[in-house]
């Protein structure tokens, strides 16, 4: 297969479209961010980096996204397992519904989950009697993020499970291992790379998520204010420098996560290959 620019036509045209489109819609705006960031004075950066309200918004965003990704790592894996390995009535419907969070506008998800978990809602009312509040607390943020990021984990794991033959589990059983041991020692190692991908995608998406969260969070400074909302607040106050600085730290953080996961995956692949 010696595909060269000469044998197949259209290189100039398709490459021209690709680069100019990306240049206009992605690189140009990103350059503006870099330019604005380069304009920031040290004082501005320090004032943002030490602003207690901003720092607490980072804590809320990171904490809730991590927790939501962890919850999905457990329930998403379970859901994927059940969908692949068992046949039962309603399976196809659930399989289709798993992608609902991708198809449903986040604002709709936000008001629906808020109405469900508010103290007069279907789920919120019984919980309120137990003294548990979900809507307008960090728990509410986690619920919204679990909803929005669920498909990432399920859809990362499902294809791997489909390829994984039950024979290995059977072999484990003949050797006398119990169900949980088989899952931990036989299935989980096979799933680890996909689980890691799903987890990090869910985490990254949760970090940036806005639409579903702002309705359920209550948005109280220092308690339930997320980092993306901090950017919006600063923009509305026309403090563009501060908004840029907040965004910059967020970007660096999510790139760091992506990079880390990439490295982990390369190591995992090297292990599997060697």
């Amino acid at each position: 297969m010696t595909a060269s620019r000469k044998t197949i036509p259209g290189f100039g045209l398709t490459m021209g479209i690709t680069t100019s489109y990306l240049g206009f819609f992605v690189l140009l705006p990103m350059i503006s961010l870099a330019l604005r960031a380069a304009d920031l004075s040290l004082g501005e950066i320090v004032s943002v980096a030490t602003d207690a309200r901003v720092l607490s918004s980072y804590r809320v965003s990171f904490g809730c996204s991590l927790l939501a990704a962890a919850i999905n790592a457990v329930f998403g894996t379970m859901l994927a397992w059940v969908l692949v390995r068992y046949r039962f009535p309603g399976r196809r419907m659930i399989d289709g519904l798993v992608e609902l969070p991708f198809a449903l506008p986040t604002a709709v998800a936000g008001i629906a989950l808020t109405s469900l978990t508010a103290d007069k809602g279907w789920i919120g009312a019984p919980l309120a009697r137990l003294g548990i509040a979900v809507a307008y607390t960090r728990a509410g943020i986690v619920v919204a993020l679990v909803f929005v990021t669920l498909p990432f984990v399920v859809r990362s794991i499902q294809p791997v499970l489909e390829e994984l033959s039950p024979d290995y589990e059977e072999a484990g059983r003949t050797l006398g291992a119990g169900g949980f041991t088989i899952f931990r020692r036989v299935v989980l190692p096979e799933l680890r790379p996909a689980l890691l991908t799903g987890f990090s995608l869910a985490f990254a998406r949760g970090l940036g998520e806005y639409g579903s969260v702002i309705f359920i969070a209550g948005n109280r400074p220092f308690r339930t204010e997320i980092a993306p909302l901090m950017i919006v607040t600063r923009l509305e106050e026309f403090m563009y420098g501060q908004a840029t600085a907040v965004a910059l730290f967020m970007l660096l953080a999510s790139f760091a996560v992506m990079f880390l996961v990439n490295r982990l995956q390369i190591r995992a692949a090297a292990f599997a290959g060697g």
Binding site: I17, V26, G96, L97, L164, S165, P166, P228
Partner: protein, 282 residues
């Protein structure tokens, strides 16, 4: 479906009945709680006051305007990203050159960036304090707080959808058929339309559906660049936010019900495409 499915329906693998029941019940409960109940609550709130109240909310002139604007931004963004996706998939899989990895990373970038940051970078470019603003003003153009800004923000957020779906499909096919077509004298457009396109048509349809769903529902990026001018730069999701914040809950849920129906249709279409394409492969 792979080997696992076959193993589950027959053959040596017998699931532990207790574990099976517990896991299925837990999964059904989780799915009902997280996926079904949000849909039910929207429907119940939207129709709770009867058809008439629902119809009044949905046929309100601001709702209709928001729906039209959503249609415009969605169609434009999807059309642009489809054209781009086809070109990018071709350019990235039919040739070998340096920098391919970098190009793929740039295509993926919008997925790694918060929609709020996506909105922010357009404000920093075209907003009143942006470096491109003097040029826009001199030519009487308006992007931020106007429809072009909404479209551009939507395009940014949905750039990866089509390209990402097509690239692996085209890469897996290799270039032999295209080379043969070219040797027999077909030009670029003929080769593309008659040889390449038929192979990727289902992946293309699939990705366009998902792209449209995301474009229609985009909230964060659009919210930042819109300025929330009712009747002018309000898309349906933004309209829902305004209604909700003004405590017009019934109306907010009525408008949401339209989007719920749209997204259920998207899921149905997605699963039809998947079934049809799978049958064709066989």
């Amino acid at each position: 479906m792979g080997a696992g499915t076959r193993g589950a329906s027959g053959g040596a693998w017998r699931p532990n009945p207790v574990a099976r029941t517990v896991l299925i019940v837990l999964s059904l409960a989780f799915a009902f709680l997280m996926l079904v109940m949000p849909l039910l609550v929207v429907v119940s709130q939207a129709f709770g006051a009867g058809w008439e109240a629902f119809w009044r909310a949905v046929s309100d002139s601001f709702t209709v305007k928001a729906a039209k604007l959503t249609a415009i931004t969605t169609v434009t963004a999807v059309a642009a990203n489809t054209a781009f996706g086809l070109a990018a998939a071709w350019a990235l899989t039919r040739y070998r050159y340096r920098g391919q990895g970098l190009l793929t990373t740039v295509i993926d970038l919008p997925f790694a960036i918060s929609p709020i940051i996506a909105g922010l970078i357009f404000i920093l470019t075209y907003g009143r304090l942006g470096w491109a603003y003097p040029f826009l003003e001199a030519h009487g153009l308006k992007i931020v707080f106007a429809v072009p800004g909404l479209v551009m923000a939507t395009v940014f957020v949905t750039i990866p959808f089509v390209a990402r779906e097509l690239i692996p499909v085209l890469a897996a096919r290799g270039t032999d058929e295209e080379q043969a077509a070219v040797l027999m004298g077909a030009g670029f457009l003929r080769t593309f339309a008659l040889v390449t396109l038929p192979h990727v048509k289902w992946a293309l349809v699939y990705s366009v559906i998902l792209c449209a769903a995301r474009a229609m529902g985009e909230f964060g990026a659009v919210s930042v660049v819109s300025g929330h001018l009712r009747g002018k730069t309000n898309t349906l999701p933004l309209h829902i936010e305004i209604l909700y914040n003004e405590h017009h809950y019934r109306e907010a849920f009525a408008v949401s019900a339209i989007l719920v129906i749209a997204s259920v249709l998207v899921l149905a279409a997605r699963s039809v495409v998947e079934t049809v394409s799978r049958r064709e492969v066989r």
